[in-house]
Structures are given as C-alpha cells and as structure tokens.
C-alpha cells in the first residue's frame, strides 16, 4: 500500500484543451466528438471481467486494497455526533482484533459533522471528506453551494464531494456545469475535489462519458458515480465508462484523475470485481487509494468478514462486527 493521500494534480495541458471550453457551443462540439459507447458491448465487457476468479493470495491482496480504498460514509439526516465518532474509530482500526487490517481511506460526512470527524481522526492519516454544494440534489444558488463548500473546508475537510447540476447538463448547458465545477474547485482551496455525476439521472453511457470529460476539464481530482440517494447508484458498466474516460484524459493531457463508484456496492465479491475492472482497464497506477475509492458503508463489514474467513478459515457472522 502506498500513501492514502491525494497527490497534487499535475497541471493540465491547457493549450490543448482551452479552446474546447471557450463557449457552450465549443464544449458541446468537443463532447459530441468523443467516441460513443455501445451499451450492449459495454455491458458484455463488464460481464466478462466479472467472471474472473480471484482466489487465495490475490483475494487477500484485493480485500486489503478494497478496505484501504473505502470512503466510509454516513449521510443521514439522523446522523449524530456519537455516530460520527464511532465511525471514525472504526475507520482507523476496522478490525480491532487484527492489527494487520489497514485503515480506510476517509470518512465521508455532511459539512456540519466535519469538525467532529476531524477531531476524532486526529493525525491518524484517515482523511475527512465532506459532501457539499446542496448535496444530494444540487438545487440551490451558486452562492449557497460555494458557502457550503467553504464551510466544510474551514471545518477541516480535506476532500470535497460536490454534485453537478444535472438539470443544466440534461438541458445541454454544459458550460454552466463546467463553470460551477471551476467555481467550487476554487472554493476548495487546498482540499481536493470529487465531482459526483449522479449517473442514475444521466441515464445513458454517452452522457456518463461526456459528464466525465466536463468534470475533468474543469479540474476535478476525482469523478464519482453517485450520491447514493438516487437509484441506480454505482454500476460496473458506468464505472467502466468513467475508467475509460480517465485513461483517455491522461493520454490527452498527462493529468491523472481518480474514480469513485459510490452507492450500492455492499459485498466483498462486488468490490473485488471492481478492482479487477480497474486492473484490466487502467492498470496498476489506479490501484491505489489515491486514485480509486469506494463510497460505501455496508461494504466494510463484508470485507472484514471475508478477510477473517480467508486468514482463519472461520466465518464469524455479522454479529461479530459493529453496525454503524
């Protein structure tokens, strides 16, 4: 495992892409010039990747890697200070009985719980991520979204998960989506920015690819599938399209962008399938918490149970792991 710290982004090759965002029309032309995604072919590729058989040592490696990539998340109206503290304890030592179990990458909370998380995590290395920008719908004024972001950063968040304006995207106003991401990124200061596309509302894979590019062009450090509040949330085909997008973006600009599927990934088996997909689509360089994350809550316990099963041969059952 290397660092779980987001690396400073390499500055993009502005000359190559500055024309593409000079106007909505130019941006639209660029996005519609991207190769299309064939739905049947994309889903068939995912089915093949999902049939890989990951056993023994590679399974152990994958389970630990998946744990270290989790953004352990609680985004409920009923979240309390106590719950956030409990989650922070678990984030640092997911399996208290096994010191070899790695910590997760980050805790993900609403802005008003950031300070609690920040204090609970101290200098453990586990980062604090906060959703912002009128999460999950994003239906507010830009001023409110920017203030939301600044509040979270001021409270100690080092990662901001923003939502894009899906209404603007679906109506063809790509430049508006772009400008908003640029503004939020500016408000993030030193914090890194994950851009949530909410792919369940974008519906088509072509839209997912275009939204990925808008976010990357606007400076996103990460592109993220979903808020978890809309169904369907993360799916493998959607994540495959996003992985292809970050791969192609780095080929074009030299800048690497991370990917975070979030919502609906609840089993170790599914997490391993995602890692296989990362491995065979973008390769080793993304197999690192700095470049790939799982936004999840239930996933961690299943990973812990499978991990214990693999090392001890015994399957403890859910009562031996804390509910969050």
């Amino acid at each position: 495992m290397t660092s779980s710290v987001l690396r400073a982004p390499v500055e993009s090759n502005d000359g190559l892409l500055s024309d593409t965002v000079s106007s909505n029309a130019a941006l639209r032309r660029f996005l519609y010039g991207l190769p299309g995604v064939d739905q049947v072919g994309c889903e068939a590729r995912v089915a093949t990747l999902a049939s890989r058989s990951i056993k023994t040592t590679s399974k152990a490696q994958a389970l630990d890697l998946a744990i270290s990539m989790i953004d352990l998340t609680t985004l409920e109206g009923q979240d309390t200070v106590g719950k956030v503290r409990a989650l922070c304890a678990k984030a640092q030592r997911p399996d208290p009985e096994d010191a070899t179990c790695p910590p997760v990458a980050a805790i993900c909370v609403y802005p008003d719980r950031v300070a609690t998380a920040r204090a609970a995590l101290g200098n453990s290395g586990v980062r604090v991520a906060s959703v912002a920008t009128a999460f999950p719908s994003g239906r507010s004024t830009l001023d409110v979204k920017l203030q939301d972001t600044k509040d979270a950063v001021a409270a100690g968040a080092s990662e901001i998960d923003m939502v894009i304006d899906r209404g603007a995207f679906l109506s063809g106003d790509y430049r508006r989506v772009f400008d908003e991401i640029v503004a939020v990124k500016d408000a993030c200061g030193q914090a890194s920015l994950k851009v949530i596309l909410e792919t369940g509302e974008l519906v088509t894979y072509d839209n997912v690819r275009r939204a990925s590019w808008v976010a990357m062009l606007a400076g996103a450090h990460f592109i993220k599938t979903s808020t978890g509040k809309v169904q369907p949330a993360a799916t493998m085909p959607v994540t495959l399209v996003m992985l292809e997008a970050v791969r192609d973006f780095r080929e074009t600009t030299g800048r690497q962008v991370g990917v975070k599927p979030a919502g609906g990934i609840s089993t170790a088996k599914d997490a391993v399938k995602y890692l296989v997909m990362v491995n065979e689509t973008v390769g080793d360089e993304w197999l690192d918490p700095a470049w790939f994350r799982f936004g999840a809550s239930r996933l961690l316990n299943d990973l812990l149970m499978q991990r214990a099963k693999l090392s001890t041969g015994l399957y403890g059952g859910p009562d031996y792991y804390t509910l969050d």
Partner: protein, 476 residues
C-alpha cells in the same frame, strides 16, 4: 502495485476419462476393426485416451444401425415424442455442463471460461431450440407435409467439437432423421461423452451413431451408398473433395467451410467496444473460428487510435493453462495447426508486413502461439487472403465506405463480416453490400440457435441454425 491473479484451476476430477474408447453404434460402445490412435491434450501433450479408428466396415455397421433405427423407430415416431428425447438430452447437457466443459477444454485446448460460458450453454440452447420444432415441422414453411431425408452422415471439425455436434445432430433428429457422426480426429472425447448422454436419455439405439477416426473414416462415410444426406463443417479443401465425390449422386450436401472475414471499423464507431470486438473476433478460441474476424479494416482517420487501443488491450490477454478460469487464450489444437500458423506468419514477415505480439510467456510443453497482429498488410499479401485459423490478425486500412466494401468482398470466402459504426443507415447499407452469410453490427462472434449461419462462395452452402437449418434435413 501489481495485482496478479493467483492460479484458479478448474478441477479435472469431475470428468472420468477412460483409457480407451470404442465406437458408438446401435446404442452401444463397440470395438472397431481399425487401429487405435492417441488423443492428446494440446496444452500439455499428455495422452488423454486411446481412440478407435473406424474403417469402412465399421462405418457400414453404423449406417445400417442408423437405417434400422430410421425405418423402425425414429421416422414413424410422432414429432412430439421425438421432442421429448431432445428436451431430455438438452436437460442432461445442462446438468452435466461442468463435466462437458472441462472435457472440452482438456481435449481441445480452449479456455475453460469459453467452454463453460459459450460452448456448453449454446450446445444446450441448440437442442432446446430444435426440440421445439420437432412437432411443428408443418409450420416451418417447407410444405404441408415435410418428410425427413433418412440417414445423415455428418462430419465435424475440431474447433468447437461439441457445439458443431449440436448444430448437426439437433436439427437432423428434430426433423426425423437418424445420424452417423464423425468427430475430428484430435477432438473425439466430448462426442463420446455425448454418446453416453444419449444412453442416459434412453434414446432409441441407432438414432445417433458416433464413428471416430481420421480422414479415411470420413471418406468411408461420404462414399457410403446408403447415406441420404451429408453435412460437413471444416476446411474448404476437404469440402471441395466431398462436393466432387457426391457430384454424380443425388445426395443433398451442406458445407460450412473456411472464411477470411473482414471486421470493418468506421471513424464514428464506439471505439472501446470496437476494440473488444476486434479482440473477440480474432482471439476468441485462439482464432480457431471459421467466421473469425481475421482481417481488420480500419478507417484511416482513426487508425492510430484504434491500433494503440488494440495493442494496449492485447497486453492484458492472459495466455496459458486452459483449465485456469482466468485464461483468455488457450492452446493451439495440434502441432500440425501450430506449424501452419507459424508458416503463414513467417510468410507475412517475409512479404513485408510488420509483426507485433504483446510480451507474453508461453508454456514450455504443448502447442502455443502468442496473440499476433500484422500491420502494413496489403490485399495482395498471403496473410490477407489465406485462412490462418489461429490468433493472427491482419490489419488494413480504407478511406471510404465503398473502399471498405470492395476490400471486404475481395476474397474467395464469404462467411461473415463485422461493421462498427454509430450510424444505423450505414450498417444497413453495408449489410446489403457485403457478400457474407453473417454480418454482425457492433458486435462479433455472437451465436444464437434462432439465427441461420452459413457462407457465400467458397465458405460453403446451406444454412445451419434457425428455421432455415431445418430445410437441410427435410424433403419437400
């Protein structure tokens, strides 16, 4: 950090391989008169079993058994009763699918993933599909009272041993014919396991007979005067010989022969899926596919992009032990085939094409060939004209749709073609221009029992699969 997949071997213990096999005639395994030969695993060269070689007298016994079964049982049985047997066979195939997949992978060299996910499910699907036709033949569009032809002699190749068996036996039996089938010399084992399944299904003796052996066994079957119908899948050379030998008779023949399919990628194609389709088109089953997309035609404006993506994707192909569940490309079926692939690849280099393979470690024993592409290929090169039947892709370019069509059709073959574009109207236009029996749009190597399959020109005649596939086994 590297993420290497630990070996994930499918267990061989599910399948019992006898040390030697007889012929399956009249519902029983019997000894052959001819000498036996060894069947080896192409991945390890390990001897799997001794296989009997049927001579002309053995073939005659099999044809006589098929004739008796035809006259006394199968042709007078109602379609609904025949369907029961076919459904039963289909269900047993599903129940014993793992066993069949492991044996197919061992004997043929294909990856267990493909045997398990493609071959065996399709085998069951073809039996289910044709079982459904058995009592509905009057509605198939071949006259009010279509009749079976009699005894069908069927000769199948080694690339999809069990699937080709299903393509031959299922429609023949559904239509009321009985069969004598000869599997390829290097891949007899799953046909013999299928014979056991026929016993398990209580199929009346003589309805299905399996005679193993080499070319001379096939010749005896082709030449037998009491065979009413011949069906052959294999090389164009042997197909021509069969056509010549029956030219003076009134035996109907269906031939499914070689191919040199064009896989055509336009500049507006869904590129990532097209790359998957190119890989699937030529590296599926080690390229031992008659309809393989062995000629890639790329529009010049996206050539560099497609080639870069293709090479990157090829570097992730896992070549090795066919029984490892993570293997993508298995072993070449025989040393003879490996020799041919090596020879034609050497010709490609000497003719001036540029050869490229991803770095890939091949096992020491067995028959192996790394996935290979040739760029800078012209229509005049032998590797652009001759069927290599291996994991070797020839890459050519074109500028206009008309040029793509011209190049795609400029071959003596005409089995299949692929078109990759987001423009629906162009797909339809291309499909009308391409002289190939199957045209895949934004996909490749997709098979379905409801869809007819067959060739133009030297790729053969007659259709297998779908309603059309019944016609070859019905008199009307």
């Amino acid at each position: 950090m590297g993420f290497d997949y630990a070996p994930a071997l499918e267990s061989r213990s599910i399948v019992d391989i006898s040390s030697s096999y007889g012929l399956f005639i009249d519902g029983e395994f019997v000894e052959a008169s001819g000498p036996s030969f060894k069947s080896v695993s192409p991945a390890t060269e390990e001897v799997l079993a001794e296989i009997s070689s049927a001579d002309a007298a053995d073939v005659d016994r099999a044809v006589q058994a098929a004739r008796r079964a035809y006259t006394r049982t199968w042709s007078v049985m109602s379609g609904a009763e025949r369907a029961k047997y076919l459904y039963r066979i289909a269900r047993i195939i599903q129940e014993r699918s793992r066993e069949l997949a492991v044996l197919e992978s061992l004997d043929n060299g294909k990856p267990i993933r493909e045997a398990r996910d493609v071959d065996v499910p399709l085998v069951a699907a073809y039996f289910f599909y044709y079982a459904g036709w058995a009592d509905k033949l009057e509605y198939a569009g071949f006259g009010a009272k279509p009749r079976p032809l009699g005894v069908a002699g069927q000769i199948i190749p080694w690339n999809f041993p069990l699937l080709m068996l299903a393509w031959k036996i299922a429609p023949a039996l559904a239509a009321g014919n009985t069969v004598v089938l000869k599997p390829a010399e290097t891949t007899s084992l799953t046909s013999l396991l299928f014979a056991e399944i026929c016993q398990q299904a209580d199929l009346p003796p003589g309805v299905v007979n399996i005679v193993t052996g080499a070319g001379s066994t096939g010749q005896a079957l082709v030449a037998h005067p009491d065979v009413d119908k011949l069906a052959f899948t294999g090389s164009t050379e042997v197909g021509k010989a069969i056509a010549r030998s029956v030219a003076a008779t009134n035996k109907p023949v269906t031939l499914e022969l070689g191919g040199k399919a064009a896989n055509i990628v336009f500049d507006d194609a869904p590129i990532d899926q097209a790359v998957e389709g190119i890989v699937n088109g030529i590296f599926f089953n080690q390229g031992h596919v008659c309809c393989a997309g062995s000629r890639l035609l790329v529009q010049e404006s996206v050539y560099d992009d497609v080639l870069a993506r293709l090479k990157r994707r090829m570097a992730t192909l896992r070549v090795g032990d066919p029984l490892d569940k993570n293997t993508d490309v298995g072993a070449i079926n025989s040393s003879e085939q490996l020799t041919r692939i090596r020879e034609l690849s050497a010709v490609g280099e000497s003719e001036g094409a540029e050869r490229w393979s991803p770095p890939c470690e091949l096992p020491d024993r067995g028959f192996w060939f790394a996935p290979t592409i040739f760029t800078g290929v012209s229509q005049a090169h032998r590797i652009a004209r001759e069927e290599i039947f291996g994991p070797v892709l020839s890459v050519l370019t074109f500028r206009t749709p008309a040029e793509a069509v011209e190049k795609a059709n400029n071959t003596p073959y005409g089995l299949s073609a692929g078109v990759w574009t987001d423009k629906g109207s162009r797909i339809l236009w291309m499909a009308n221009q391409l002289r190939a029996g199957v045209v895949w749009a934004n996909t490749f190597n997709r098979f379905d029992p409801t869809s007819p399959f067959g060739g133009y020109k030297e790729s053969g005649y007659g259709r297998e699969g779908g309603r059309h596939g019944l016609e070859a086994y019905l008199a009307h």
